[in-house]
Every structure is written in C-alpha cells, then in structure tokens.
Amino acid sequence: MKTIAKLFTVTAALAMTTALPVAADTSGKSIALSNNYAGNSWRQAMLESWSKVTGAAVADGVVKAADAFTTSENQATEQAAQIQNMILQGYDAIVLNAASPTAINGAVKEACDAGITVVSFDGIVTEPCAWRIAVDFKQMGRNQVKYLAERYPDGGNLLEIRGLAGVFVDDEISAGIHEEVANTNFEIVGSVHGDWAQDVAQKAVAGILPSLPELTAVVTQGGDGYGAAQAIAAANRPTPTIVMGNRQDELAWWAEQKAANGYETTSLSIAPGVSTLAFWVAQQILDGADVPKDLTVPFLTIEQDGLEAALETTPVGSVANVEYSLEDAKAVIDASQ
C-alpha cells in the first residue's frame, strides 16, 4: 500500500514537472528591441532593465535571444531601416520605442507581413497590425489630484507646474489635472512652465510666488518638484504638498523632509523598466496568448512607506525604476480585457 502511495506521489511530481514550463513554446523564439534614442538617463535605465530581465529570460530558456539595438541617430528613416534589417535577421518579435508614431509604419507593416509580432511601447506606432503599450498621461494628471483630494477634502489653492509648452505630453497631463480639479474643491491659482527641469521650474516658481495666496499643494509633471521646493523654501513660505515625479533628487528631498518633520506626499511617473513589460507582452503573444492590441502602462507610484526603499535603489541623477515580471505582464493584459 505504502509503495503504491509512493508511486502515486512520484507520478504526480513527474506530471507537475512536465507541466511546469508553460513558456516552453517560445524557447526557440528570438525577440529584438528597436530603440531610437539612448541619450538620457531614462533611456539608459530602460536599456539596462532590458538587458537585466531578458538576460535572465534567455539564461532560463524562456526565449532563445533578446537583442537590443539602438539607432545611431534619432531619425525615423534610420529606425525604419533598422526594423527592415531585423526582419532579415529572422527575429520572431520586435519590441520598439518609436522615433515617430507614423513615419515607421511602412517598416512595421513589412514586419507584420513577414509574420513578425511587433509591440510598441512608450513611443507607440499607429500601424494597426502592431500592439501598443501606451502611457495614459491624462490619468497621470488625474491621479495627482485624486491623491490631493483625499488628503484635503476641503480643497484649497493649487499651483500647477507644466512641462514644455506645445508638447503633446504637457497638454495631456495638464488636461487630466484640470478635468479632475473640476470635481473637487480645489482651485488652480497659478500655472507656470517648468520644462520638466529643476532649474527652469525653480526660476518659474520663484517668479510667480509673490503674486500667489497661500498654497495647499503643487501639482507637477515630473522633474520639476525639487526646483519648486527650493523656490518656496527660498521665499520663506510654508511648504505645501508637492507631488513628485520619481526623480532621485526629488525623492532625496522628500526623505530629508520626512525625517525632519514628517512631510507627506506622493510621487508617480513611468518606470523605464516598461521595456521589460513590453518584452513579456511580446513573449506572451508568441506563446499564443490572446492579447488586446491596446494596453496601458501602469504608473510607478511611490507612497510614504515605500520612499526609503525606492530612494535606495535609485542612482543619483536617475529616476526610480522597476522591472516587470511575466506575472505583471499577465496582470496588465487581463486588466485591459
């Protein structure tokens, strides 16, 4: 009887091990990353995350290869040629951050026609045959105001720091902020352009401060929170709740204030590791999963409790990052279905 039971467990264990490698279908497939630009810390972190996560995936035999390519110049024609080369190199999937939403559509279509899975993220393409993992910038603006409305149900005065004038991202985040403010008791008393840079934001905020009433909070677009804090401190005004954008200097300032007087805020942005999310999505598509064509990038939000941990892993001059796992990708896919 005992031996039969033993035998049973052994066969059960065998069945489990044979059932485990679900992703074995993609072990012979190779995925390429087509990147158009590597000249700032966000893109550098993006490439590092890619090589870290895909390196492990290749070692584990999930995929055969996952090579990253960056064009030597940030030009759509270069990237189109790069994608055509990838078709010739025989990749099964191409993950790309595009130089232009439309100008590489021709090359993307060629890839699709050759039976290649194309997944675009961050800089997405409009070609219908490709998958898109887009950033919902409007939601980014809304989330800031939602957090503030929870903290201050009675409302108050808001200062809005915007990005670079005339850029689509700036319009979207700002539109999200304004839409959500209409649902609350907040009032936007001033608005300046900080160009997503600490020094520009500091100058702009210092310029508008004398004309403003007392501020409850500052809504930002990332890269401008530290500059705003400096300008407000220099004017000897009480520090409002400044929403941060995951930059290392912003997090460091926040941690300093938290240690000194229990300062509370939130911080959100897009993690450069979104490239790894795109990798897993491509892997899932190759694996035969049913993935909708339009997915949304989750925000990386840093709360009061997670601040120290996030700050520790963020290099100076960089931005907080997170690498996505297969499970994260599955969750994102499920969320959009």
Partner: protein, 307 residues
C-alpha cells in the same frame, strides 16, 4: 579605359565588396525579399542624391535638401492624398521656388551654402505648418507602386537602375546636360558662347527640386505616412553619396550612375554595421570610417591617373 570608366569603377567595387560582406553575414538577404528590404529605403536617398548632384554640378552645395524632402513628404501625405490637384500644384510651386532660389543665388552672387541653409529653416517651418503632428496617409497609387512586387527583380533594384539610367542619359548624353556640366566647369566660357548662366542655374536647381519632390513622394510611398522631420538626414547622406559616387565639389565633374551607387552603398553600410552587431555608440564613427576609406582609395587612384 577612359577616365569616366575608371571613376565609376571604385563606387561599383565598394558596393560589390559591401554586398558580398552583407551576404556572408546574413545569407537571408540573398533573396528577392531580402534585396528589396535592404534597398527599398535607398530609393528616396538615391533621388535626393541626384538632386544634390544637380546642385554640386553647377559648383554649389545644397544644405536644404533634407528639409525640402521632408516638406514634400508632408505635402504628399496630406494635400496630394486628400485633394490631388491642390497637392500637385503645391509641389509644382515648390519646384519653381527651388529654381527661383538658383536664379537669385547666381544673380546676386550669394553663397549657395548660406542661402540654402536659410531655406532649410523655411522648408522645415512649412513642413511643421502642414503637418504639426506626425500623420497623414500615402496616396493609394504611390503605395501600390512602391510596394509592388515585379517578377524576378525586386522593385528597389528596378527603381535604382531606372533612376541611374535616365539621369545618366540626361546629364552625360544630352547636349543640354553637357551645357549644365559646363556651368560647373567653366562658367565664363559658356557666358561668352551666348548662354544665360542665370537660366542654366535656375534649370539645374529646378531639376534638383523635381528630384527632391520625387524623393519625398517615394519616401511616403514606403512609410505610408509622414513626419515633419522625416528626412533630415538626407542632406548629409546626399552630399556623401555624390562624393562617394565619384563626383567632385568643383568643375562640374559628377556621375549620375555613381551617385545612385553611392546612395545604395551608404544605405548598405548602415545595414552592414547593424548585422555586425556593432554597438550604436560606434556606428556613426564606423560609417564615417567606411566613407574615409573609400575616399582615401579614390585619392590614390586619381593620383596615379595624374602621373
């Protein structure tokens, strides 16, 4: 062998060597499908290179061709697609404007490099006005033409051969082409012989404008939509293509067949480096190194010629 034949030999050889290397690195390219993908984006570059060659032929240089091609691409993806008549008239006006610039440069004795640099901002501004955010669509016939799959020989090769032959016949074999070369060779002699240099230069610039517009259209046919910055790289690529193809900056010494081969070589060089898996940080440098290598060999050959 004549001088012209010797001059064309080097670009042909460098293309052959590069092509052999690419075939070796990536045997998949050795097919109808592979050759088309390798060379289809070289077609607009080749057209832009011919445009640049027309300007270099009359001893000038054009720094606005990249933005002009971008502008024409934007017009093609918007007006030509939506209201063909208006679209083609805009392109025709742009070509006339190009020709007028040539006339002004000669009549006022202005340096072409400065005027065309200034014009590059004008074209770029117009392109952004027409297409503030990337988009538009390619006219149906253009897309069908650029993506057509003729039997045996890929479209990219047919188009390149056609461009080379037509411009060769015009520049090297027609009497008017020879006169245009003469503008670069000896302007004064032509003037004494009764030719109007202003008219000749305007014609050369006008033909350049025509090929620039064709480049923009071909590009949209391939990409299926446009972007105001789509062809900025073409300015430098076209100059490099002319020189690589055996042309010279002065004296009206250009070779249309060489220029097309130069454009193909430059496009192929980028693919070659990418197949080599060279780090992108080194790619621009390596591309330059290939260029310098070919030019150095050419210098050696032309020295021997003089002896």
């Amino acid at each position: 062998m004549t001088r012209d034949q010797l001059r064309i030999l080097l670009p042909v050889l460098s293309l052959a060597v590069l092509l052999a290397a690419v075939f070796y690195l990536q045997p998949r390219t050795m097919s109808y499908f592979g050759l088309n993908l390798l060379f289809n984006l070289a077609i607009p570059v080749a057209l832009a290179t011919i445009a640049q060659m027309m300007i270099i032929m009359v001893n000038d240089i054009d720094l606005s061709i990249g933005t002009f091609v971008s502008f024409c691409a934007c017009v093609t993806a918007t007006f030509v697609h939506d209201t063909p008549l208006l679209g083609y008239s805009i392109l025709a006006i742009a070509i006339l404007a190009y020709s007028a610039i040539g006339a002004v440069i000669h009549a006022r004795g202005l340096p072409a490099i400065v005027v065309t640099l200034g014009m590059s901002f004008v074209w770029s501004g117009l392109a952004v006005l027409i297409l503030p955010s990337p988009g538009g669509a390619s006219p149906e016939w253009l897309q069908t033409l650029m993506k057509s799959k003729p039997p045996l020989v890929p479209m990219a090769i047919i188009a390149a051969t056609l461009i080379a032959l037509v411009t060769h016949l015009f520049v090297k074999r027609s009497s008017f082409g020879v006169v245009l070369q003469g503008v670069g060779g000896n302007e004064r002699a032509l003037e004494r012989a009764g030719w109007s240099i202003v008219k000749l230069k305007a014609t050369a610039y006008g033909i350049a404008g025509l090929f620039g517009a064709l480049a923009g259209m071909a590009l949209v046919g391939l990409t299926t939509s446009a972007d105001a910055n789509i062809a900025l790289r073409y300015t430098l690529l076209s100059i490099a293509g002319v020189i690589l193809g055996g042309g010279e900056f002065t004296g009206g010494r250009v070779s249309p067949i060489g220029a097309v081969i130069g454009a193909l070589t430059l496009t192929l060089a980028a693919s070659f480096l990418s197949f080599l898996r060279l780090s992108p940080d080194w790619q621009i440098g390596a591309q330059g190194a290939i260029l310098i290598l070919v030019l150095a060999v050419r210098l050696l050959v032309s020295r021997r010629e003089e002896r």
